[in-house]
Symmetry: C2
Subunit: 226 residues, 2 copies
């Protein structure tokens, strides 16, 4: 563990605990909606209520950031949004490639939410000749063999894996070799990558299975805990 090692160089970004990092996007989502709704101030209690947390947790989390609230008022929504966006890198554009032009890959490419939140889709790739060349939104499906070139030429750092389970590891290896620094794995199989490359798994099926467990036990929403 390297936690707290960078006190030497005192870089701006300090490593935050995992649970905090996973809550930050939720905070960002919330304050974006609040701002759109014209709300100017939000208290830790408000945030906690909306997200199913405690005020303590929210204040602890925000204390890691360079944001300060005001007694009796809470936090300024605009400031919170700016700081959260900064920490999460949501204030800049991130290039991404999608591998797999099946239902899920195509949906992501067309979805719009990604583009709207700072992700620039630099290409969607597949090995299936029947889909290569087909238009997906503004993009044309390219042959998977072209992915290295695109990643290198355009300096793409993120890759989304949306292929069948059996192909996931191979795709990951290829992306990492091409220079990808972070992999979002949607495939129903775990991938292993070398240290220095980040992997986040996001599998709808596993989330559904977790949900089923909770439903069977009649548990209230623990989903928010994450």
């Amino acid at each position: 563990m390297v936690r707290g090692l960078n006190h030497v160089t005192e870089r701006s970004a300090r490593e935050l605990p995992g649970p905090v990092v996973r809550r930050l996007p939720k905070y960002l989502t919330l304050v974006q909606h609040l701002r759109e709704g014209g709300v100017e101030w939000v208290s830790s209690a408000d945030v906690a209520r909306a997200l199913g947390l405690t005020g303590s947790t929210v204040r602890q989390d925000l204390s890691h950031l360079k944001v300060s609230g005001l007694s009796r008022r809470g936090y300024r929504v605009a400031e919170l949004e700016r700081v959260l966006a900064r920490v999460l890198g949501a204030d800049r554009t991130w290039k991404v490639v999608i591998v797999g032009a099946g239902n899920l890959g195509q949906a992501l490419a067309k979805h719009g939410d990604l583009q709207r939140h700072g992700f620039e889709i630099c290409g969607i790739f597949d090995v299936d000749r029947r889909v290569i060349g087909r238009k997906v939104g503004a993009l044309k499906v390219m042959a998977f063999s072209e992915v290295d070139g695109v990643v290198k030429e355009r300096g793409v750092r993120l890759g989304i894996i949306a292929v069948p389970a059996w192909a996931a590891q191979e795709v990951a290896d290829r992306l990492v070799a091409a220079g990808i620094k972070g992999v979002l794995n949607l495939a129903y199989a775990n991938v292993l990558v070398r240290p220095g490359v980040a992997v986040v798994n996001a599998r709808i099926l596993e989330s559904l299975q977790e949900l089923v467990y909770m439903v069977r036990l009649g548990v209230a929403d623990r989903g928010e805990r994450r």
Copy 2:
């Protein structure tokens, strides 16, 4: 918190810690693939390596289940799969409705992975007249107003929300009112439901934002930790 309250009735299912519940689907995925690959035995160390955990964690997790390993051999893959499937309810069929027939909703309906893993999609709904009636795989998009009827008549317990953020809460309310017991929320907004109804959030965008944070810090895969 109701943890450990059911010692009175001593039901078969005991409430497992959240982190454990979130790892079980990963174990299941893994052993399914191992079984398909013809592997018969797997040790806690093997599982740990594949999933980026420690052997200790794996053994602790499995000790919650009614599964036993053998010294020098590990766990029997077939048994592990059976027990995990049982605990996660993956040994039976779960009826589900999808609300929102946009890119994501349609992709899920057509995806096939859900059906293949025991989820029966009883309907896909939307409010947009341009998509109502359209074929999506074997299904026809229905008007959202019909969702209550379908949920009640067919006894659907799970709902997937794949609508724009602004509509998510309204859809959740409607589903819960119709009798839905668990909500998988894919929308980019948090929903609140009454106690007794489970919510699991699975947002690709938030996972991507988490990934960006990790990439910026040059962190190795913490994604596996989840």
